[in-house]
Amino acid sequence: MTMASSNTDRRSRQVSLAAAERWSWLFGITLILGFLYLPIGVLVAYSFNASRSLTWPMSGLTFEWYLKLASNDQLIQAFYNSVYVAVCATALTLMIGVPAAITLDRIDFPGKGLFRKLILLPIALPGIITGISMLILFRAIGFNLSLEAVIVGHATALLAVVVTQVFARLQRLPQSLQEASADLGASGFQTFFLVTLPNIRTAVIGAGMLAFTLSFDEIPVTFFLTGRDNTLPMYIWSTMRRGITPEINAIGTLIVVVSIVLIFMSVLLLREKSGPKE
C-alpha cells in the first residue's frame, strides 16, 4: 500500500516537472521563431506603410510602393536576369550533379575518396574566392563577363549542394534495385530512367529548389562575374546605398511570398512520393 502511494506521488511530481519543462520549451521555441520571423514581419508591414520613413507607429495603409515597383524598369530587368540566371544555373548544376552523384555511389575507381572531397570542397569555400578565381579564369580564356559567366559560376558553386543531396538519397536506395533492373534485362540507360531516377526524384527536385534559391540571392560570385547586367540582389544592394526605400520592402515582401509558394510546392511534391511509405 505505502509503496503504491509513494509511487503515485512520484509519478505526479514527474508529470508536473514535465509540464514545467514543456512550458519552457514552448517559450524557447517562441523566442527562436520570433527571432527568425520578426524581421520578415517588419519588412512586410513597412511595405504597406504610407510614410517613406521607417518610424513607429506606421502612418497608414498603402499599395503605392507596389505600384512603383511595376513601373521601375531597371528593377524588373534585374528580376528577369535573376530568374534567367537561377533557372539556367539550376538546370546546369543538375545535369552535371546527378550523374556525378550516381558515379560516386555506384562506380568504384581509384581516388574516389579524393574525388568526393574535391567535389564537396566548394561548399566550404567563401563565395568571394570562387568569384575571384572564376574571374581570373574567364579573363584568361577570354570568356566575356556576362550573365552566362554568372550561370557557370553559380553552377560550379552549387554542384556540391546537388551532389551531396542526391548522393545521400542514393546511399539509402538499396543496391539490389539496380541489380534487379539489370537482372531483368534493362540496359544501364533504362535502369537510370526507369528505376534510379524515379526513386531519387524527390531528392533531385529538392536539390533543384535549394539550388534555385541559393542562386537567386547570390551576391559575391555574381558581383565578380556579371558584366553590366544587374541581378535582383545586386540591384537591391546598390539602391540600398542610397538608403532603405519602401520599394525595397515591397520587393522583399514579394520574394517572401514567392519563397513560401515554392516551399509549399516542394513539400507537396515530397509528400506525393513518400506519403504512403509503410
Partner: protein, 363 residues
C-alpha cells in the same frame, strides 16, 4: 538429363578475403539445387557470379554450353529473386512483374497479359494494381518470384528467399516453392543457411564451407550416409568421436569415449589407423535396465532429458564426454517410462549404423 550450368574452378577474391575458392559444379536441367552452408561461406557470392553481378577472379561459367563468364547480368538468361525482394517501390505490382518484358520491348498488351499469368501462378492476380508497400512479406516474396519467372529464364536463382518470413509462413512457402518448381519446370538454384529448408525442397544439396564445396548429394544421401564429419554435424546432429581401429577376433573394434564398439565390417580395411566415426541420435536405442546381454552397448548415466512431445532427447554422460540419443515416445515408452536424470542407462547401437567419416569435424 542435360547439363544447363557448368562451373569450372570458380574463384572470387575480395581484397584479401577469398569469398569463393576454386569451386566446380554442374547443374542439370530442371534440377532444384540448394547451396547450403553457414553465413559467410560464399553461397551468395557463388550465386551472384552465376547471375552476373560479380566478376569471377578466376574460372569460367557455362550456360547451355556457352561461356557466359564475361556476359553482363542483363544479357544472361537467368533471373534472380533477391533476399530483400528488390521490388521497385515506385511501380505497381503488375508493372514490377512486367518490367522485364517492358524493357525487352514486348507489346504492351502482351506485357499485361503475361504479367497477369505470372501473378496468377503465385496466387496474386487480384493485387495487380497494388503498390509493393501495401503487401505483406509473403506477398512481396511471391511478386518477386512472379517477376523473376515471367520471362521464363533458363535458371532461377534464389538468395535466401524465405529468410525474411516468420516461421509459419516460411514452412508454407517451402511447399509452395517446391510446387512452383514442378509447375514451371525451371532449374532452381537456391541459397540458404537453413538445413531443414534445404532438405525439404531440394533434389540435390551442395554443402559449402569457407568458400569450398564440402559434399553434395540428395537430401537422403547427405542425411543417411554423409561422407564427412562436417556434413554429419551440419545436417541434423551426429555423435562424433575419433578412434583407432583394431581387429579383435576378426571383427573391427573401435573405442567410443572409453567403451568398445564393433564397427561395420568395411572398417576392417583401415585397421591400425585412427579415424572419425559417428552415429545419429535416433539410430541408438535405450536398453531397458539390465535385461539381456546386448552387444554394442554404451553405459553411462542420464545427464539431461529434453522432452519434445513425440520424441525426447536424452543426454547420456559416458564419463569423458556425452552423447545424445533421440527416443520416439510411443505407447510402449510413454513419457512416464523415461528414465530419470541420474539413472544408470545403457544404450545400444547396431554396427551398421555407425558411420565412418572423413576427417573434417564441424567447426
Amino acid at each position: 538429363m542435360t547439363r544447363i550450368i557448368e562451373i569450372e574452378n570458380l574463384t572470387k577474391v575480395f581484397g584479401d578475403v577469398v569469398g569463393v575458392d576454386d569451386i566446380s559444379l554442374d547443374v542439370e536441367e530442371g534440377e532444384f539445387i540448394t547451396l547450403l552452408g553457414p553465413s559467410g561461406c560464399g553461397k551468395s557470392t557463388l550465386l551472384r557470379m552465376i547471375g552476373g553481378f560479380e566478376d569471377p577472379t578466376h574460372g569460367r561459367i557455362f550456360l547451355d554450353g556457352q561461356d557466359v563468364t564475361n556476359i553482363p547480368a542483363s544479357k544472361r538468361a537467368v533471373n534472380m529473386v533477391f533476399q530483400d525482394y528488390a521490388l521497385f517501390p515506385h511501380l505497381s505490382v503488375g508493372r514490377n512483374v512486367g518490367f522485364g518484358l517492358r524493357v525487352a520491348g514486348v507489346a504492351k498488351r502482351d506485357v499485361i497479359e503475361k504479367s497477369r499469368e505470372a501473378l496468377a501462378l503465385v496466387g496474386l492476380e487480384d493485387r495487380f494494381d497494388a503498390r509493393p508497400h501495401m503487401l505483406s512479406g509473403g506477398q512481396r516474396q511471391r511478386v518477386a518470384l512472379a517477376r523473376a519467372i515471367v520471362r521464363r529464364p533458363r535458371v532461377l536463382l534464389l538468395d535466401e528467399p524465405l529468410s525474411a518470413l516468420d516461421a509459419n509462413l516460411r514452412e508454407q512457402m517451402q511447399v509452395e516453392l517446391k510446387h512452383l518448381h514442378t509447375k514451371v519446370g525451371l532449374t532452381f538454384i537456391l541459397v540458404t543457411h537453413d538445413q531443414t529448408e534445404a532438405l525439404t525442397m531440394s533434389d540435390r544439396v551442395v554443402v559449402m564451407r569457407n568458400g569450398r564445396i564440402v559434399e553434395s548429394g540428395s537430401p537422403q544421401e547427405l542425411y543417411e550416409s554423409p561422407k564427412t564429419g562436417y556434413v554429419a554435424g551440419f545436417i541434423g546432429s551426429t555423435n562424433l568421436f575419433r578412434s583407432r581401429v583394431e581387429i579383435v577376433c576378426g571383427a573391427p573394434m573401435i573405442n567410443c569415449f572409453g567403451q568398445s564398439l564393433i564397427a561395420p565390417a568395411a572398417v576392417a580395411s583401415i585397421s591400425g589407423q585412427e579415424a572419425l566415426f559417428g552415429f545419429r541420435p535416433e539410430k541408438a536405442s535405450l536398453v531397458s535396465g539390465g535385461k539381456g546381454k546386448q552387444t554394442n552397448t554404451l553405459r553411462g548415466s542420464l545427464a539431461e532429458v529434453l522432452y519434445h512431445g513425440q520424441s525426447a532427447r536424452l543426454v547420456v554422460d559416458l564419463g569423458p564426454d556425452r552423447v545424445v540419443i533421440d527416443l520416439q515416445i510411443t505407447d510402449v515408452i510413454g513419457a512416464s517410462g523415461l528414465p530419470q536424470v541420474g539413472d544408470a542407462v545403457a544404450l545400444s547401437i547396431e554396427s551398421h549404423k555407425i558411420m565412418l567419416l572423413q576427417d573434417e569435424v564441424a567447426a
